[in-house]
């Protein structure tokens, strides 16, 4: 288990941070949230296509960068620290991870992965953002024998900017993942708590879909679970990014703000709270790193499973990854919320205003707490994994 950042990861972080510093300041984000273009397409072009983040998790032979979940986690830290309105989570994590659980030898799967990786198309996974790993395969959408999909999926993240949807649906032969052109679905924007990751409701009314065949020995359920597990585990890194911004910005502000003839940051009660918060953030970072590392190990172990049939290590890796994700997701969620709440409180009145960006981080943190499984859901999953039965 390697909990540090490699040089490659540090370089990747620096590159992402440069772009965000240029194009995604809090003022930029605040200026966009109430327009009809809440997503920043230009920013996503630079990050997704030029920097290659859209295909970060896609193997090189399929047109991607061949990166691991460890690197995706670093990207999400930075995107979280800027509440960047780009569809990295939906497209490059959730949709790509689901597709990588399908048969990548299939031309349709490989083609779609290639288009997502190049940035030619943006996708998302058509599940409610609140969907958690470990849940039953969703029954909200049905597919007929001709691959026409009917049903509704509410509160889908990154759908408003997606070209392609990966839709879990119950088909005539059971659960399947289907590729659906976004234009074939009716999309209703949702007034979202998180202004920087707005949701949409999708209605499919006989929309044409193409069944994505599962990986050999796998299933649509396994592919979906693969995506949700990665989403939940990597979201912990986004939460670390959110929390770190809140801590840094609060410390910075309290070093400047004077009341009672003193720098406010010299008041001991606040110092102790910030020390405790710092410890939480440091701890959440360790947990998030562990989850990313375990997911990366599981991915390479699963590859090994296919190529070397090293079954035992693959199974162990899967359980390790599930434990590490449950730990990180349940721990990092409240840390991000706490950090954002403390940031608002310690900024005083100005933190409560629309013009100050702290509310964007609070809304992201609170939405992330619900996204991809609440802390309670993840802890409940742990009960079975570590033999602490109810």
């Amino acid at each position: 288990m390697n909990l540090l950042y490699s040089e490659v990861e540090d370089d990747l972080r620096a590159a992402v941070r440069d772009v965000l510093a240029d194009r995604c300041t809090p003022a930029d984000v605040l200026g966009r949230i109430e327009t009809d273009r809440p997503y920043d397409a230009g920013l996503w072009r630079v990050l997704g296509a030029d920097l290659g983040l859209a295909g970060l998790l896609v193997p090189e032979k399929l047109g991607g960068q061949g990166g691991t979940e460890r690197e995706a986690a670093v990207v999400l830290e930075e995107l979280g620290g800027a509440v960047a309105p780009v569809p990295f989570l939906g497209s490059a994590v959730l949709a790509v991870s689901a597709l990588l659980g399908c048969d990548t030898a299939d031309a349709g799967v490989a083609g779609l992965l290639g288009r997502l990786a190049s940035g030619e198309a943006t996708g998302t996974l058509a599940v409610p953002l609140s969907a958690a790993p470990g849940a039953a395969f969703p029954a909200a959408v049905r597919a007929d024998a001709a691959g026409r999909l009917t049903g509704t999926v509410s509160s889908v993240a990154d759908a408003r900017t997606a070209d392609v949807l990966v839709v879990p649906a119950l088909g005539p032969d059971g659960p399947g993942l289907y590729e659906v052109a976004a234009g074939a679905a009716r999309l209703t924007p949702v007034v979202s708590l998180d202004l920087t990751r707005p949701l949409a409701d999708l209605t499919l009314d006989g929309a044409p879909g193409r069944l994505l065949p599962p990986a050999a020995g796998g299933s649509a359920g396994a592919a979906l679970e693969r995506a949700l597990l990665r989403g939940a585990g990597l979201l912990a890194s986004e939460q670390v990014g959110v929390a770190q911004w809140c801590l840094d910005e609060t410390v910075r502000y309290l070093k400047e703000r004077r009341q009672f003839g003193r720098v406010v940051g010299s008041f001991q009660a606040l110092k102790h709270r910030l020390a405790d918060l710092w410890l939480e953030v440091v701890s959440a970072r360790a947990a998030a790193r562990a989850a990313a590392d375990a997911l990366a190990a599981e991915t390479s172990g699963a590859d090994a499973l296919v190529t070397e049939t090293a079954e035992a290590s693959g199974v162990t890796g899967a359980k390790e990854a599930r434990i590490a994700v449950a730990v990180a997701a349940s721990y990092a969620s409240p840390v991000a919320v706490h950090a954002a709440e403390e940031a608002l409180q310690l900024h005083g009145g100005i933190g409560m205003t629309w013009e100050h960006p702290v509310h964007l981080f609070l809304k992201r943190a609170k939405a992330d707490e619900i996204a991809l499984g609440t802390p309670g859901t993840h802890r409940a999953a742990l009960a079975g994994l570590v033999d602490l039965p109810a």
Partner: protein
């Protein structure tokens, strides 16, 4: 005496007056304002105020019975939530520090709601450290000329009058160079701009004061004594919080409990444990407030009041945060971000997302929780104050 507690009965003289008022002014036919003016003149507005100023000089605890009797007769009230700053802050200050002319001029329309009041205290650079305020008032014969910026002013856009504190002497330490005024919100140079909050609403305002002229006759208290006057105002503000009795399961917990009951599919054992703990905390906070009210009614106010604002802020924040988590997917959705300017504050209204965001203000507005903890530690527990460096320095020489 048990006045103010349950089972209380109205004193005979008060009952006679209420009946006489109702007989002379039938609430069913008399216009609202006319009835309220008559009630004021009958001394039934706030019975603990002096005669002639809306009261009868009797204990405050008797008010509840008067209100109940009038409510039973379907008499209109003055919509206290709309004019809370006037009732809770301006009126007691005017009563205590105002001249007779000021009391006669201001109290009646304040109480009837014909004139709404707001409060011009906080500034961008003077929040917790209110005494560090920069708004200047310079004397010019019989008037004062005021320049500065105030913030977090609720009701500024509907208010006719404001209570205002401004610096009149920068050459003395900060607490000693402040004077307290009544400011005409319709005067030239008063500009009100909405201040939008994280909820999307603009419940508060920024108020810019540019060369605003205030007659010296609208000064409350002595020149340079404004800090003492303001302290009295703020004390009244904090006493007012938790001043209204809540029923069991009232307030923020009502919403969470209703969601729990109506949506069994959201329930998990973990959320159940947390809901029960919050329910208990809400009930205990309610009992604490009730105990403080009983102490007040018994004429022996305890220090509990100082902690109640702290308690309600934390409670509202924790419950509303829980409610969003309970709602799961629905917690990801918000009602409406449109900037509106509500006339009333409603902590418990609208959707769960609004409640969550609005509650964040509860530990900032009207004294931050940090300042309240200082107050409890120093005034209730008697712990020493922090070392202070800003007490004996002229305001103009303070580090900035």
């Amino acid at each position: 005496m048990a006045a103010g507690t349950e089972g209380d009965t109205i004193a005979p003289e008060l009952r006679r007056r209420v009946r006489a008022l109702l007989a002379a002014y039938d609430p069913a036919t008399i216009p609202l304002r006319e009835f309220l003016r008559a009630r004021f003149d009958a001394g039934l507005a706030w019975v603990h105020f002096p005669e002639g100023l809306g009261g009868l000089g009797v204990p405050r605890a008797l008010q509840a019975a008067v209100d109940a009797e009038l409510a039973a007769a379907k008499a209109p009230d003055n919509d206290p939530r709309r004019i809370g700053i006037g009732l809770g802050m301006a009126a007691p200050t005017i009563l205590r520090f105002g001249t007779e002319e000021q009391q006669q001029r201001f109290l009646r329309p304040l109480w009837t709601g014909e004139e709404v009041w707001c409060q011009l205290f906080s500034e961008p650079g003077a929040g917790s450290d209110l005494a560090g305020l920069r708004t200047r008032a310079v004397r010019d014969g019989d008037t004062w000329v005021v320049d500065g910026q105030k913030v977090w002013t609720s009701s500024a856009h509907t208010a006719r009058w404001a209570i205002l504190i401004a610096r009149t002497d920068p050459d003395v330490p900060k607490h000693r160079g402040i004077t307290y005024f009544v400011c005409d919100m319709t005067a030239p140079g008063v500009e009100v701009r909405p201040l939008r909050q994280a909820t999307g609403e603009a419940e508060f305002n920024e108020v810019f004061l540019t060369g605003v002229r205030i007659p010296d006759a609208h000064r409350l208290g002595e020149v340079g004594d404004g800090w003492r006057v303001a302290q009295a105002t703020l004390m009244n503000e904090r006493v007012a919080i938790g001043g209204t009795a809540l029923p069991r399961e009232g307030g923020m917990i009502e919403k969470a409990a209703a969601t729990w009951r109506s949506r069994p599919e959201l329930r998990t054992p973990e959320l159940h444990g947390r809901l029960l703990a919050l329910w208990v905390e809400a009930e205990v906070t309610r009992l604490t407030a009730e105990r403080a009210r009983q102490q007040l009614a018994a004429g022996a106010p305890g220090p509990e009041g100082s902690g109640l604002k702290l308690a309600f802020a934390r409670l509202n924040q924790r419950i509303s945060g829980f409610e969003l988590e309970l709602l799961g997917e629905d917690g990801l959705r918000y009602g409406d971000w449109t900037m509106v300017r509500p006339e009333l504050v409603d902590f418990y209204g609208r959707d769960a997302g609004y409640r969550y965001l609005r509650a964040k203000g509860n530990s900032i507005e009207g004294g931050t929780s940090e300042i309240l903890r200082n107050i409890v530690a120093e005034r209730v527990l008697g712990l020493p104050a922090e070392p202070r460096t800003d007490k004996d320095v002229a305001w103009k020489d303070l580090p900035r």
